[in-house]
Structure formats: structure tokens, C-alpha cells
């Protein structure tokens, strides 16, 4: 049966400042299903979305939504579709109800239908209790759901969602998917969603894989995972850190990933257990075959396009880890209030030298506030904190050269080129002359920024910005590294490279404190603290934390399951008291 196309593109080309962002893209999307638009940064996902919504004009080619030309007939296309931009398009100084009403008015929702529609949407998104709250005061997850509610206020036939789950915690992500599935099943809506989370791709009926402005593949997600059968393995080695196992394997296999209590391997060709034993460090390993996932196929496909090098990070200071066991970071009963709001409510933890310590939590859990206090950007209301034995807020300014800091916004000077940014931060830490030159060459090489050396940092894609931000934070070879959501919105390939570097740094004795939304990244940490509402709910090694969520129905919970379980327990406890 020939199904009608709800969105159809033919040979789309779009250039920005001489760069082909879309390079002859053609596809057809079926109605009534969820289609995922997947690809690394700079693949052209957002541009494609905007073209479909009639917000941009293509250089050549055409795009038709709901049978109408998006470019020529943009008003009537927009009247039939819903589009949620990356930052949700909310007015932060308007309340939830006011935002909803604004979009209802703009979309021309008839008055009699409204009360029912509002109620339905508020119920669906779980925002019913917060209608009076300003949108700016909502957590990231709630904002995202409100953005969705505003987009849905007049039920559209086609829903476009541009990276709706970036920077949103796992609980909220799960809830969003429940809502989207219901929309498709109950109302027959068609959804096009772009995402950097590959596990989300598997929830789509169909995916479009994009890379550098071209479509690599379109079809059901298992079209990507099925060919990987026989190439995916789980490996454990006794007496060895999984991270180290992974590091040794990188470069020898397509992909190596720490996952729970094992390292997950993807080999280039069909392989056998015996053949795998020949790989470095696997002589005595336990190896078993596992089912392939979408992500394996994705990585395999992209690896063929752009090679991932094994990171070197050779000249890191070889700190003697065993020599001192004193904690590098020491936090005790740390509190911070803003007015009557307690952002951080008495937390304590310690981080040892060479340890990767993760802070996990939903938006607004207090992670960033904790970070800002540790870095000396914000005074604590009470409690004590020591970083390398000092309180950075009052310590001499040179003490700050022992830390590196990378914030979630990748705070770079947009009007400066890559080299200029690197030089600036190197000089900021007092490097000069030959030393600075050496570090500059190292950074350009290590982070593969040579080609972009003279590009303005504001013109780079998110993945490159993240690399540059990290390079800047490492120019002075700090012994402690603070990373605040360093992988938010960054695609899986870039994330893998990033974690390789972090592991290498930790091996050389650098202490790393990191916050993240990606639950699978939590697996890389030596220890984790899960935060909610300014408190630490649990602090332990990843495996131990997951063990807490073990139930009969779910004997092998993922980190995400564990996280959700802990947060829900905490909410229930709060509700019952």
C-alpha cells in the first residue's frame, strides 16, 4: 500500500557563509509514525527542521509538508504543523498559564474548546500544579513539557521537535516520550524529532541518519543494528578497571564503551571469542556475545566517515597517586540559599586524587550551585569546603591555577578565533614564550583543531566548541578539573572522544569532578553522588548504586533506572512527611 507522504524533501541544498549545510537532501516521511532525525553536530538537523517549518528558504530543491510547499505556502503549512524550537520558545517572564493562553490566542483556538484543552495538556504534562509559576522558574524538564504543551495547544497534524531533550534529566525525558507516544497512538499525529540521544532513536519507528548535510540512511532503527549481529561483545577482566580496559582497546576495535560491569565492544568484522583474546589486555578476559543496538550501527557507520584517533595526552604530569591518599576535594555540610530557596542544603563528600567523581541530578538539583561554590565563584552560606586544601574564594589567586573549569555554556570568546582563545587562556595562567607555543601546538593537535585554528569560535559547531573549551581548560595542566555538564547537546562520537580524554587524564593523576545528564556516562565515574533538591540521595560506586534499584522484575537495572528509582523514592518520602 502506498502511504501518503506527510513531509517530502527533494534535493534540498542550503548554504550558510559558503558552507553547504544541506547538500542534496531528499526523503519522504510517512504519516502517523515517529521519525527520528539523527546525526552528529553540524549534520544539518536544525536547518532541515527550519526549512520544513518555512523559516528558511532553500537555495535549491523543494520541501513539502502536508502536501503544501513549505517555502511558498509557509503560512498555511505553519497553520497545520506544530514546531518546537531548541530553546522551547517560551517567554520566561510569563507564567505557565499565560504562555499557554498566548499560544492558544496566536493559534486561534476557539474559546469554548480551551478550558478542556488546557486541562488535558496540563494533565498530560503534569504541570497542572504549576500554572501560576513563571516559565523562567521551571526546571529544564518542565520547560520542555510546557514548550510542548504550547506547541500542542491546537492539535497539529505534524509535530516537529528540534532536540527537545537536550539538557533535560532522564526522568523528564522518559515522561516526554510517553507523551509523544500517546499523541501518535491516540491522535494519529506524525512526529519528526531530532535528537543526539541514540537510545531515543530506538524508540522511533523510522530514523533518518544525517552526516555533514547528507542522508546516510533512512529506515527502521533495526536496519542499522541488524547488520551488527556477531560483532558486539561484553568483556570483563578481573583485577582491572573497566576504564583502563577500554582505554587499551581503543583504536583496535570500532567501539569500546564502559557499560555497567562490563566493557562493550564492537568489532569491525564478524568475530569470535577466540579471535578477541588476541586483542591487548584480553588474554584472560571473560567475553560473551551480546545483542546489537542502534548505537553500534550508528558508530560503525560514522566511524567509516571520520576516524576516531586514539587520544595521546602524553605529557600530562605523572602524579604519584599512591603517595598521598588525602582527599583533594573536601566538602562538609555545604549550604547555599538564595532568599528562602535552598539551592544546596547541607551536602558532604570527598574526592581522592585521580578519581573521577560524578554529580548526577535533575535540573535544579543544585549541581551547578555546588560547582560555583567549589570554584570560588559563589560564597557558601554555611559549611566548609576545601579544594586542594584551600577555599578558592579567599585563597590567593595563584591557587586557582591548580584547577581547570569548563562550564555548561562552553564559555569561549565568540569573536576570537580558536588560536586566540587558546593563547588567551594559556596566558591567563601565566604561560608565555616557548611554553605557551608548545601548549598551543599540543592543543591544536590533541583536539584536532588545526584546520579550524583561524576560525571564529562562535562559528563552530557545538562539538568543536566543546573540544575547544576543554582544550582551554587544560592549557595550564591543572591537577583538578571541574566539568559542568560538558557533554550536554554533544553527539555520541564527540562524547566518546571526550570520555577517552577524561579517562586518560584521571590515569595520569588528575582529579575530575563532573556533572552530567547522560546516565550512561555515569558509568565512567569512579564514584557518583546523586542529587535532588539540594541534597545528596546516594553516593557510591556506579555498580553499588545500580544495585539499590534491583528488583525482581528488573534484575539488571540501568543507571537510568537506578536514578529514577532513587529520585522517586525521595519524592515519596518527602510527600509522606
Amino acid at each position: 500500500m502506498e502511504t501518503l507522504a506527510i513531509l517530502q524533501a527533494a534535493d534540498l541544498v542550503k548554504t550558510f557563509a559558503g558552507r553547504r549545510v544541506l547538500d542534496g537532501v531528499s526523503f519522504t516521511i510517512r504519516p502517523g509514525v515517529i521519525t527520528g532525525l539523527i546525526g552528529p553536530d553540524g549534520a544539518g538537523k536544525t536547518t532541515l527542521m527550519r526549512l520544513a517549518a518555512g523559516l528558511l528558504v532553500a537555495d535549491s530543491g523543494s520541501i513539502h509538508a502536508l502536501g503544501r510547499d513549505s517555502t511558498l505556502d509557509s503560512l498555511s503549512v505553519q497553520a497545520l504543523m506544530g514546531y518546537m524550537p531548541q530553546r522551547f520558545g517560551l517567554y520566561e517572564d510569563l507564567s505557565v498559564q499565560e504562555n499557554l493562553q498566548l499560544y492558544a490566542d496566536l493559534q486561534g483556538v476557539p474559546e469554548p474548546e480551551r478550558a478542556g484543552r488546557y486541562q488535558e495538556l496540563m494533565h498530560m504534562t503534569g504541570l497542572a500544579a504549576f500554572t501560576g509559576r513563571l516559565a523562567g522558574r521551571l526546571s529544564g524538564g518542565m520547560k520542555q513539557k510546557l514548550g510542548l504543551a504550547c506547541t500542542l495547544v491546537r492539535a497539529p497534524e505534524l509535530l516537529l521537535l528540534d532536540e527537545p531533550t537536550v539538557g533535560v534529566d532522564p526522568v523528564s525525558r522518559r515522561e516526554l516520550w510517553v507523551i509523544i507516544n500517546r499523541l501518535v497512538q491516540e491522535q494519529g499525529m506524525s512526529v519528526l524529532i531530532s535528537t543526539a540521544y541514540l537510545d531515543e532513536a530506538e524508540r522511533c519507528q523510522e530514523v533518518i541518519l544525517m552526516h555533514e548535510g547528507k542522508i546516510l540512511m533512512q529506515g527502521a532503527p533495526d536496519r542499522l543494528s541488524a547488520p551488527m549481529t556477531g560483532r558486539t561483545w561484553a568483556v570483563t577482566v578481573l583485577d582491572k578497571k573497566l576504564r583502563d580496559v577500554q582505554a587499551e582497546l581503543t583504536g583496535h576495535v570500532v567501539d569500546a564503551l564502559v557499560q555497567g560491569d562490563h566493557v562493550r565492544l564492537v568489532t569491525a568484522k564478524n568475530s569470535t571469542v577466540e579471535a578477541l583474546r588476541a586483542l591487548p589486555g584480553l588474554e584472560s578476559a571473560q567475553i560473551k556475545a551480546v545483542a546489537p543496538r542502534f548505537e553500534d550501527g550508528f558508530i560503525d557507520m560514522l566511524r567509516a566517515k571520520s576516524s576516531l584517533r586514539r587520544t595521546r595526552l602524553t605529557d600530562m604530569p605523572a602524579l604519584n597517586v599512591a603517595a598521598d591518599s588525602l582527599p583533594v576535594i573536601q566538602v562538609e555540610q555545604l549550604k547555599r540559599s538564595f532568599g528562602s530557596f535552598r539551592a544546596v542544603d547541607g551536602i558532604s563528600f570527598q574526592v581522592k586524587r585521580g578519581e573521577i567523581f560524578g554529580l548526577l541530578g535533575a535540573n535544579g538539583a543544585g549541581k551547578s550551585t555546588t560547582f560555583r561554590m567549589l570554584c570560588g565563584l559563589l560564597p557558601a552560606s554555611s559549611g566548609s569546603l576545601r579544594v586542594a586544601g584551600l577555599d578558592l574564594r579567599v585563597a590567593a589567586s595563584t591557587a586557582r591555577s591548580r584547577i581547570g573549569y569548563m562550564s555548561q555554556k562552553f564559555s569561549l570568546y565568540g569573536s576570537l578565533s580558536v588560536t586566540q582563545n587558546l593563547e588567551f587562556f594559556a596566558s591567563a595562567y601565566g604561560l608565555s614564550g616557548q611554553a605557551r607555543k608548545r601548549r598551543l601546538i599540543w592543543a591544536l593537535d590533541e583536539f584536532e583543531l588545526e584546520k579550524q585554528a583561524d576560525q571564529l569560535s562562535s562559528d563552530m559547531s557545538l562539538g568543536y566548541k566543546q573540544r575547544l573549551a576543554m582544550a582551554c581548560a587544560l592549557m595550564h595542566q591543572p591537577e583538578i578539573l571541574f566539568l559542568d555538564e560538558p557533554t550536554s547537546g554533544v553527539d555520541p562520537l564527540a562524547r566518546r572522544e571526550f570520555w577517552q580524554r577524561i579517562s586518560a587524564l584521571a590515569r595520569s593523576g588528575v582529579t575530575v569532578l563532573i556533572t552530567t545528564h547522560f546516565m550512561e556516562e555515569a558509568e565512567y565515574c569512579d564514584r557518583l553522588a546523586i542529587m535532588a533538591a539540594g541534597r545528596i540521595l546516594a553516593m557510591d560506586e556506579p555498580a553499588a548504586i545500580k544495585a539499590r534499584a534491583q528488583t525482581l522484575e528488573n534484575p539488571e537495572p540501568s543507571m537510568e533506572d537506578a536514578f529514577i528509582c532513587l529520585v522517586q523514592q525521595a519524592t515519596q518520602m518527602k510527600d509522606s512527611t
Binding site: 527550519r50 517549518a53 518555512g54 523559516l55 528558511l56 528558504v57 509557509s74 503560512l75 505553519q78 497553520a79 504543523m81 506544530g82 514546531y83 518546537m84 524550537p85 531548541q86 530553546r87 522551547f88 520558545g89 517560551l90 517567554y91 520566561e92 517572564d93 510569563l94 499565560e98 493562553q101 498566548l102 499560544y103 492558544a104 490566542d105 496566536l106 493559534q107 486561534g108 513563571l134 514548550g147 504550547c150
Partner: protein, 377 residues
């Protein structure tokens, strides 16, 4: 068809309501609209004046006599001067140099004798010419004192003063020649130019920067409606500020309002539209708050202050500069308010200026409308 028009009205109402909610939540707009005119007008209304009073003057009489005392007493009696005696010319010159005094009135040793000679005696007046305007005023005031003194002296001797041509001056519209009467209405125009522009200079840029424009653009709303929503909201706010300023001018500073209040209100509205239009144009073209802010700093205050005819006479400027003043919104409004306040409903002044304001408003709105298409590029 009716349905669509109904939809447009609903969308517009929604946009206006949205702007008002945002204004209410962000006190800085309200501060711009009400606090700023109040603060600036009170400060300047009291502070700015071109009427020199109590000008510090040194009097030097080389050989004091009844005659010198008579002349100098009439200087001391004038409220225009704060006169004091200096012992020597040297001392007085020092004071003039250091800026302690504005002028020296110097009577030579032979003053009394010279008075009785046929060709008269000189009275030397030395002014500090750096501030040419004050210097000229000083000269004028001294001249007045001198003429009065001559007349009184002649009268006391039963003579009539021989002045072949006697200047009789009549100052219309502002018979007391109070500079506040023209400065305050002018200030209203300058301040409202700033406020009108500032209110809107960042609003479009902000929608682009915060990503809300993208969400608006995919709704059935048209660009005209978005712009209208902003104009209506900020127009209302600006009108509030305008009424406050006019009220202050009339009741606090006693500037006579001789023309019709309603005509003033109508002209103000048109002027506000032009000023808001200028802000929207800046905002739309810049699309970036930093650049929009910079352009607003450079492009609004000094041109309005210097080129509007607020204090500097436009007719005396070179023709190239006069041409440039035609693009200054404040220029037309300064002319209108000065006339409406002091002269009354003079249609021959109001109409051409109103026409020019309407043209400028249309020009700015046109540029804004043209440059804000429903696209992201």
C-alpha cells in the same frame, strides 16, 4: 473571511497582553517610561537655564569719587550682577583669569573729569570671552545699566537724553524672556525621544536572542501583528510618560500651555510613533542586543540634543548640517511643543511638522516592516 479577521484580532490582543505582562514583570521598562522622565525633567527643569543671574563682576575705580560711586552703585543694584570692588586692576585681572569673576568694569583715574568734557569719558568693560554667550549677555546687561544711568543722570540735571533712535523692543510669546519656558518643552521632546527609542531598541533583538521569535514565527501570526503588538504596548507606556512630562512642565515649572491640550496630545502620539519606530528599526537591523545598545547610545541622545533646535538655532547652521537635521525626529517635535506651549495653536507651524513626523514614522515603520520578514535569515 470574518473568521480570519476575528483571528487576527484575537492574535493581536494576545500579543499586546503578552507585551504588557512582560512590561509588568520587568521593572526596567516601567523605569524607562516613568522614572526616567520624572528624574530627568525635574533635574533639568530646575538645573538648566540660560538666564544669567548674579554674574560675578569686579569693579575697579582707580580714583574713587562721587561719580564713580554713583555708576558702580547702579551696577551693584542690578540683580544680574554680584559685584564686588577690587583694589587694583592687577588683582581683578587675576580673578578674571582664574574664573572667579566673569567681567571687570574699570573706571580710570580721570573718570570724573572726563564726564564733564565734551567728548565724554570711557567706561572699560572686560569680559571673559570663553563662554561667548554669557559674555554677550554680560555686555548686554552692562549696557542696560549704563543706559539707565545715563538717563537718570540727565534727568537729575533737568536735561533730556539725546538718543537719536530709541530701540523699543517687544518680545512676543515669552515676554519675561524666561529661558525655562522654552527649555522645558524642549527637554520634554529630548527626553521622550530617548525613552521612545530606548523602550523598543532592545525588544526585537531580545526576541531573536532568546529564541522566542522562532516559536512565534511558526504560528499563524504575521510580522505586522508582532510589530503592531509591540507598538501598541510601548505606545501606551510612552503616552503615560508623555502625560507625566507635560504635567510636570505645566504644574511644576509653570510653563504656560497656550495651545490646545488635545492638539498637543495628538502631536505627541505621532511623535512617539516616530521615536518608537526608530527604536524598532535599530532593534530589527541589529538583531543583537549589544550592537543595538551601542547604536542607541550613539544615535539618539547627542543628535537629539544638538541638532533638534532645542538650544542651537537650526537656521544658523550650514546648509549641509541643516539637511541632516531633517532626519532628527526630535527636531519637529521641539518646534511643535515650543509653539503649542508658548504661542498657541499655530497651524502654520504645526501642520508641516506633523507632516514630517508622519513621514518619518512611516519611514521607520516601513524599514522595520520590510526588514522583518517571517524568515530566520
Amino acid at each position: 473571511m470574518n473568521n480570519i479577521r476575528g483571528g487576527a484580532r484575537m492574535r493581536l490582543t494576545a500579543l499586546v497582553r503578552k507585551e504588557f505582562l512582560q512590561i509588568r514583570r520587568d521593572p526596567s521598562s516601567i523605569a524607562i517610561a516613568f522614572l526616567m522622565p520624572f528624574f530627568l525633567l525635574v533635574l533639568f527643569g530646575f538645573g538648566v537655564s540660560l538666564d544669567a543671574d548674579h554674574l560675578p563682576v569686579a569693579l575697579v575705580a582707580e580714583s574713587p569719587s562721587l561719580d564713580t560711586a554713583d555708576f558702580l552703585a547702579s551696577l551693584e543694584g542690578s540683580h544680574y550682577f554680584a559685584a564686588h570692588y577690587a583694589r587694583t586692576m592687577h588683582e581683578a585681572e587675576q580673578d578674571l583669569r582664574s574664573g572667579k569673576i566673569n567681567a571687570i568694569v574699570h573706571l580710570r583715574a580721570n573718570f570724573a573729569a572726563g564726564l564733564r568734557q565734551n567728548d565724554g569719558t570711557p567706561i572699560q568693560l572686560i569680559v571673559n570671552g570663553v563662554d561667548a554667550n554669557t559674555a554677550r549677555l554680560t555686555q548686554g546687561y552692562v549696557q542696560g545699566v549704563w543706559a539707565n544711568w545715563l538717563a537718570r543722570r540727565a534727568q537729575s540735571r533737568g536735561q533730556e537724553l539725546q538718543m537719536p533712535v530709541q530701540l523699543v523692543q517687544r518680545v512676543w510669546y515669552n515676554s519675561e524672556v524666561k529661558s525655562r519656558n522654552f527649555l522645558v518643552p524642549g527637554l520634554v521632546a529630548i527626553i521622550m525621544t530617548l525613552i521612545g527609542t530606548l523602550l523598543t531598541a532592545l525588544v526585537m533583538a531580545r526576541e531573536w536572542e532568546r529564541g522566542t521569535m522562532e516559536a512565534l514565527l511558526v504560528t499563524p501570526v504575521t510580522m505586522t501583528e508582532i510589530l503592531l503588538g509591540k507598538i501598541i504596548a510601548y505606545f501606551t507606556l510612552g503616552t503615560g510618560g508623555m502625560l507625566l512630562s507635560v504635567g510636570l512642565a505645566v504644574w511644576l515649572f509653570d510653563v504656560p500651555l497656550r495651545g490646545s491640550f488635545w492638539l498637543l496630545l495628538a502631536c505627541s502620539s505621532l511623535f512617539l510613533l516616530a521615536a518608537l519606530g526608530m527604536g524598532l528599526t535599530i532593534s530589527t537591523l541589529a538583531r543583537n542586543q549589544f550592537v543595538a545598545g551601542q547604536v542607541a547610545i550613539i544615535g539618539t541622545f547627542l543628535p537629539a540634543f544638538l541638532l533638534s533646535g532645542f538650544i542651537f538655532d537650526i537656521d544658523s547652521m550650514p546648509s549641509v548640517v541643516q539637511f541632516i537635521t531633517h532626519f532628527i525626529v526630535a527636531r519637529y517635535f521641539v518646534s511643535i511643543v515650543q509653539t503649542l506651549f508658548m504661542a498657541g495653536n499655530v497651524w502654520s507651524v504645526v501642520l508641516p511638522n506633523v507632516l514630517a513626523l508622519a513621514l518619518l514614522a512611516a519611514l521607520f515603520m516601513g524599514i522595520t516592516w520590510k526588514k522583518s520578514r517571517k524568515r530566520l535569515e
